[in-house]
Amino acid sequence: MRIPVSALIGMALTAAFVLAGIFAPWIAPYPLDSAVGKVWEGSSSQFWLGTDTIGRDIVSRLIYGGRVTIFVALVSSMLSFSMGAFFGFLAATRGGWIDTLLSRLVDLMMAVPSLIVALVVLSVLPLNLIVLILVMGILDSTRVFRLSRAVAVDIAVMDYVEAAKLRGEKQSWIIFREILPNALTPLVAEFGMRFIFAVLFISTLSFLGLGIQPPLTDWGGMVRENKDGLVYGKAAALMPAAAIAVLAISVNLVADWILSRTSSLKGGRGG
């Protein structure tokens, strides 16, 4: 198997971000929250990417901020993924009223853009990590639900699934041995997409001031803190913005490659 260069780059960068997040306290040159320099210093050997709106080291805050962004996005995408896949498979294999109920519920949730729903909900709930993760996870599970239901429905009508039913296999065998192995590749690619979406979602919320609250910070929040500097030509806000972009594109490259492998499994023209 040959992995294309783009996917390799994507994997390497994603891994680098994750490792930097995990080992943040050992890697970051300065603490998260202390003003170690002057306001909006340029790049120097002391502060590689300069300092921020109150003189904190941007590299250190990027590392710590990435930790929060990746953590929140990962947990919420894991939540959305497991919820969506569970209910999607349930709906596809059980059918009947369970399917109808779940599908209509998801239709209702998806009738309004997630960001608008999140804003409405966050106007009532307290802004903390758990609430954010739950809100993002539940809202986004609708997309995973639709995909995994569709994939499972496609597979459930295959003759080999019918053959297993005729053999007398239990529901658990049919789901875990017949359907899941064949649904795995599109779902793995989808996990990448959900993770990106969660990164964008939490960054947007933080940017709007409705996400991660100080003293914690994440990349979206860092853009918000430093955005006024742009008017004076200070590029501090662009660093976290670039970090978001690079992470999202890296994961996208990997997911794209996995997806292209899935579609090619079906490929080939007869005759």
Binding site: V112, S123, I196, L210, A248
Partner: protein
Amino acid sequence: MVIHPILKLVVQRIVLGLILLLAVSFVIFLGVQILPGDAAQAILGQSATPEALANLRSQLGLNEPALVRYFTWLGHALHGDLGKALTNGQDISHDIGQRLGNTLFLAVCAGVIAVPLAITLGLIAARYNGRWPDKLISGVTLATISLPEFVAAYFVIFLLTQVVHLFQPVSMVFPGMSFFAKLHAVALPVIVLVMVVLAHMMRMTRAAILNVMQSAYIETAELKGLSPMQVIWRPALPNAIAPIISVVVINMAYLVVGVVVVEVVFSYNALGQYLVDHVAKRDLPVVQAVGIIFAAVYIGLNILADLIGIISNPRLRHPK
């Protein structure tokens, strides 16, 4: 009288859409009620005394059953009365009326540029499927899709205000401004919105065209001796037009989200900014009202896309 089946479908779809909108308004209204904490708590904060809370609750009508409050609110809303803001007591309908025009101006400007551009690029990418123009366009759009709206916005701002001094980084639009002054003022936010919508729209247009180009009837046309342009005009376009229009309409929905963020970025005084401000202030009546307006636009666009799909299907237009 025989009712044309397509008319039946169209009416069905519109009624379904209205029911959906009603359901959404109900969920937004009630969802906000059943979540822990209520408007009184939100206004007075966690440290409020129980007496103060109780007073405010009865003042706000929070002691009535939720269903009663919903229908009271719905009745008023249908007459154009969305209530008063908690924070400053301003009439919400009036505030929305002032800002709606600005939001629409922004969205329409973005749409007018993005739609033809997206379709043209989509056509080019599909025409050169797999060759370098396709790869270039697809690569660039993949990158834009990977960016949140505000990230794209700040790169554009930095580029066009700092590197090249073309625009002001803040977009102020106020009554009495000339049309061209307004256009100049919204140029930056429009560029950002176009970037965001364009990428999605172009990718879906490309997919829709490729899907049609792979049909057997395209091969039939080639084997009839039609030139590439004739193939596009005769069998391809009539069949691709419906999916393309549907793609365009669906992507207008991205504008709904895009507008909210972009307005905040550019401190553009319109609905999105208004919504975000009042979420932070926990002003529930405002959030509900604006949320439902955004939802209505979004649902309306989706119904429109479905209707176009129904009307353009020859199987439905000419039943057996």
